[in-house]
Each structure stands twice: as C-alpha cells, then as structure tokens.
C-alpha cells in the first residue's frame, strides 16, 4: 500500500482552443475518502478526472498528490488505477492476464502476481472466469474484471469514470452497493465521476458539483441536498428536482401566486427572488396555496403530483393513502426552514 491518496487541485484551467473546459478548479480530497465529481455532461468533470490521471495536461494550475506536485508527471508514474466507462479491457488477453497486466508492468515476481490476481478476482467474485477472454463475459462481468485490474495493484488513488453507466438498472444498484463496500474495505481514496446525482448521493463521502467548467459546490451529499449553493445545483440534485419558482420577497415572506409564505430570513425590504422547495417538503393543509392536481405519477409507496398553482408548475411528493384525485383542487404549504431563496440574476443562494 503506497502513499495515502491525498489530492489537491489548485486553480486548474483547461482550454480547448478558445473554449474553457475548466475555469479554475480548486478542491482537496482527503485520504481514504470517496469523492464524487458530479455534473451534467460537458460540465468538466471527466476533464478533471483525466487531468488527475495524467491523461490530459492542464493549461494552467497545479495538481498535487500526497503534497507532491505531479502536474507534469506521466500517467504511468502517478500510481493511479482507473476504471474506464468502456472498461478498456485488453481483448486479446484472458481475464487473469488482464488483471495481472499492471503487476507485470511493475515487474513483480510470478508467484506474487498469481496470488494477487486470485485475491483481486475473488474480491469482485470473478475468480471462476479467469481463463475467459473479455469477449466471452457479460457486461457486469467485464465491469468486475476492470475493477479487479484496478484494485490488484493497491494504487494510492482509485479513479472511476462512470463505471456503472453501461450496466442495466438492477445490476447498477447491486454494483453500486458493492463498490462502496469494496472501497471501504480497501481503505483507498476513490474519485468517482458521474452525471447521476443518485449515484453520487449514495456513494460519496463528499462531492463536487460541476457546472459549465466550474465547481459550484463542494460538500457532503446531505449538505449539498439541504443547502444547494445555486439555482443550477438546486435544479440538478434530487429526484424529482427542487421546485424553483420566481417570487417576490417582502420583509421575510415570499409571495407566490398571491399567497404569502414565511421564510427563515428576517431582513426587511423587497426584491425579486427565486424560491426553491423540494417536492417532499410540501404538505397539504387548510388555507394554504391553492393548486389543481394536473397529473399523478404513482411510484408505489409514494406518488409525485404535478400541480398547477395559477399557471405555476409545482411538483409535490406525497405518501401512499393520502393521494388526491386528478383534477381536484388542494391547498398546500411548506415550513419556513424548507424554503430556499436564490438571486434571480446571480443565480446564487441568498
């Protein structure tokens, strides 16, 4: 086990001609942490991972691993293992040869390689497939083979680039849980790129949310969920995402469709705001905001209602047994602490 796997990105800029893929990215990853890079496609998260791996060079800025500047260090000298989205298995080699490849490059003794390969294959439950070629494996087995190749070396950093995106839904959920257990048991630092906020929420100890080449927020999944920094993050995290409604702020209250809602803010004054509240934070109540039920999406234990509040579309999550009928008019409200206020021009949290 070499190194600790502490990562530090300092003002990383990546230009593709005139286009800035990364506009000054800063973050720190602690040793042993499961860190997710989350964002929509084209937001710069994969570029960040590639720069960390040494596959791309930043235009400006420095990358530090375990306090050592590795900005100009070759990928192969960084002691980093990576699982690619396509798995990138070597098709002409057997599973065992694939897993053994990094160890052979490190010139380990044959006996040591053999036992390490078996150990890694056992951990991801493919030790019965060692003689197969990747072409003879299912998608899930290929993915495990790629994982085994990455963990066999006991590298100080473990990078994963959307490793679950090629699996079917059921397998994705299973593998997600196993991945987390695997990372915990190995105690290795993992950096995980995904566009799926649910994956990031469930896997990560902390996450960085990317939007158009910048990190907009870093924090634990709970923090980011509870206090999104910007309108973009609020609309990205959570399923269904947060309701974001233009409103008027007047002395601590917000006015939506003529209805006043209390907030936790107490500053006097008046201004335009964007009000955010999660679908699950809405309650049915007497004398609240009137809304007509347009559509019901029944999810089994819960249902998501599409509500029309005087022309404003609002989504609400209700638990079973409490579902109004389509076309019915209901009255809703939410608690002051569940209301998020954003500036409509800067799009940042107020």
């Amino acid at each position: 086990m070499s190194g600790q796997g502490q990562v530090s990105f300092r003002n990383i800029v990546k230009m593709h001609g005139e286009f800035a893929a990364l506009k000054g990215v800063n973050f720190e990853i602690k040793p042993g942490e499961f860190f997710a890079l989350l964002g929509p496609s084209g937001s710069g998260k994969s570029t960040t991972l590639r720069i960390l791996a040494g596959l791309d060079a930043p235009t400006a800025g420095r990358v530090l691993i375990d306090d050592k500047d590795v900005t100009s260090t070759d990928a192969r000298d960084r002691d980093i293992a990576m699982v690619f989205q396509s798995y990138a298995l070597y098709p002409h080699m057997t599973v065992a040869e694939n897993i053994a490849f990094p160890l052979e490059m490190a010139r380990l003794p044959k006996a040591e390689i053999a036992s390490a390969v078996h150990e890694a294959a056992r951990k991801v439950k493919i030790d019965h497939l060692l003689d197969r070629k990747p072409g003879q494996l299912s998608g899930g087995q290929q993915q495990r083979c790629a994982l085994a190749r990455a963990i066999v070396r006991k590298a100080r950093l473990f990078l994963l680039d959307e490793p679950l995106s090629n699996l079917d839904a059921k397998l994705r959920l299973e593998t997600r849980a196993e991945l987390k257990k695997l990372q915990r048991s190995l105690g290795v630092t993992a950096v995980y790129v995904t566009h799926d906020q649910e994956e990031a929420m469930t896997l990560a100890d902390r996450m960085a949310v990317f939007m158009s080449g910048e990190i907009q927020q870093i924090g634990t999944p709970a923090e980011v969920f509870a206090r999104p920094n910007s309108i973009d993050i609020a609309g990205f995290i959570g399923n269904p995402p947060m309701n974001l409604v233009p409103a008027r702020y007047v002395d601590g209250d917000v006015i939506i469709a003529g209805h006043r809602l209390k907030t936790t803010t107490t500053t006097a004054g008046e201004r335009d705001v964007v009000v955010g509240f999660r679908p699950g934070a809405l309650r049915m109540t007497e004398g609240g905001l009137g809304a007509r039920v347009d559509l019901i999406e029944d999810l089994g234990d819960t249902a998501v209602l599409d509500l029309d509040c005087a022309g404003i579309m609002i989504r609400m999550r209700v638990s079973d047994g409490n579902i109004p009928g389509e076309g019915e008019t209901i009255s809703i409200t939410t608690r002051p602490q569940d209301i998020h206020l954003f500036d409509p021009t800067t799009r940042m949290r107020l």
Partner: protein, 279 residues
C-alpha cells in the same frame, strides 16, 4: 417454389460462367504446364492429352533452372516485407494516434506517392541506384520496392490502428506501460489481422513485380518474373516451361494466402461491427 428454384439455378449458372472466366487463365496454365511443347501448340487445343512433368523437370533441374531465381525472388520479397513492416507499423501508429504538425499533409503525401505511374519514375530510380552503385543488387531492388510498398502499407495499416479505442491505450499507460510497451503488448496484438493483410499484399506485390526488376536488375539479381521472361523470345515462346514456372511461382503466394486466410478474413471485415476488430 418453382420460380424460386429457377432463380437459384439461373444464379448458379451465372456464377459458374463468371467463375470459369476468372479461373480460366489459371486452369489453362496448369494444363499447359503438363503438356509437351507440341501439345501446347496443337490446334484445335487438345483437351485430352498424356500429362508429362517434363516442363517442370526442365525448369527446376535443367540447364536454365529457375531455382536460383525463386531464391532471388524470395530474398527480395521477404526482405521487402520485413523492412516495410518494421517501418510501416510505427509510422501508421504515429499517423493514427499522435498529434503533430503537418500530420494531415504527411497522410496525404503517403497516399500521393501511390498516384505516380511507375513507368514515369523508372529512369530517375535507375540514375539514383547507379549513382550509389546499387544497380543489380538486393539492397537496391529492395530500396526501390520500399518506395511504393511502404506508403501502401502505412496507408492500409492506419485504418486498423484508428479502430483501437484510445481508452485501451490510456488504460495501459495507467497500468504502468510505456508507449512502446503499449504498442507492442496491447495495440499490435489487436491489429494482427491488419498486419497479416498488409504482409500478404506487400509480399505479393514484391513477388510479382516485373517492370522495376527487369530494368534495375537482371544479371546478379534475377527474380523469377525476369527469368520467366527469357522463355519469351523473338523466335519462339516456350509455353510449357512458361506455364510451369508460372504455376511454381504462384505456389508460395498461395501458401501464404492459405496460412494467413483466417487473419485476412478477419482483417478485411474489421470495422464492420463495432469492436469486430478486437480479439
């Protein structure tokens, strides 16, 4: 049902005619090589004759044996193929992968050299070889063959290299392999179909080349194509011997083709299916 059957029969007949037209020169050569000279010239052609191996005996073990010429051809073709592949594989990899100034131009230049009609450059080639004293030498003829086999091989190989996903190479780098090791251990095993196809074509071109060989060599270095030409003279053409040499000269290429067939078929269908070139 009957219409379908009729169509099948028509198709079969058509194919047979087509196939016969193609196979005719080869069949005719084989037949002629088994005839005596008088049988060859018989008119109308004799379809029934007593086959003899006389022509083969003459061309192999007679006074003008072509065995040394077959050896010459082998040295030239194998030499050309080896040198071509040693240079073409890294060059094609570079054109397919690396980003460098003038890459587009280099790619086009490689192709453009194929557009020159050979007969137009034969005199300059002759002068160059004469000036460096390489006329009628193996290294001279191999050098000249390289000038057209190399661009062809590079151009053919580039497409195979381009089919290999970038990620596979990046995975190898992260696994600790150098660029050369990655090329050798990861990339080349996956383009071996393409390499087999290229080897066959380069060998075939060198083996069958006549024009350059007859002008730029002929005494010390005399490949079988040039030797065959001696059977054709103003007074007469020794058809049976010519046919026998043709059949003999065809054999190595046929053997190579059969050996490489598995790879060739795979190589030719690369890219038809995503990932079809892997394995």
């Amino acid at each position: 049902m009957t219409a379908k059957r009729l169509r099948a029969i028509a198709l079969l007949a058509f194919s047979m005619v087509f196939l016969l037209a193609w196979a005719f020169p080869i069949i005719w050569s084989v037949l002629n090589s088994l005839k005596t000279d008088s049988d060859v010239l018989a008119y109308p052609p004799k379809l029934v004759f007593s086959p003899t191996l006389e022509a083969y005996r003459d061309v192999l073990f007679g006074s003008g044996s072509i065995l040394p010429n077959l050896l010459s051809s082998a040295i030239i073709s194998v030499g050309t193929t080896i040198v071509t592949m040693l240079m073409a594989v890294p060059a094609a990899y570079a054109l397919a992968r690396l980003r460098f100034r003038g890459k587009k131009f280099a790619g086009f230049y490689v192709l453009a050299t194929q557009m020159l009609p050979p007969v137009g450059i034969i005199i300059p080639y002759f002068l160059v070889l004469r000036n460096i004293g390489w006329i009628d030498t193996y290294q001279g003829i191999i050098l000249i063959y390289l000038s057209f086999s190399l661009p062809f091989a590079i151009w053919l190989l580039v497409s195979y290299f381009e089919d290999i996903p970038f990620e596979m190479e990046e995975a190898a780098y992260l696994d600790g392999a150098s660029r050369l090791k990655t090329l050798w251990l990861i990339i080349i095993p996956q383009v071996r179909g393409g390499i087999a196809v290229t080897v066959v074509f380069v060998f075939l071109n060198a083996w069958n080349e006549f024009l350059f060989a007859v002008v730029l060599s002929g005494n010390t270095v005399r490949p079988v194509t040039v030797a065959m030409f001696n059977f054709v003279s103003v007074e007469q053409t020794l058809w049976a011997k010519l046919a026998a040499v043709s059949v003999l000269a065809m054999l190595p290429v046929v053997v190579l083709g059969v050996v490489a067939q598995k790879h060739i078929v795979k190589g030719l269908t690369v890219g038809a299916v995503k990932g079809g070139g892997r394995r």
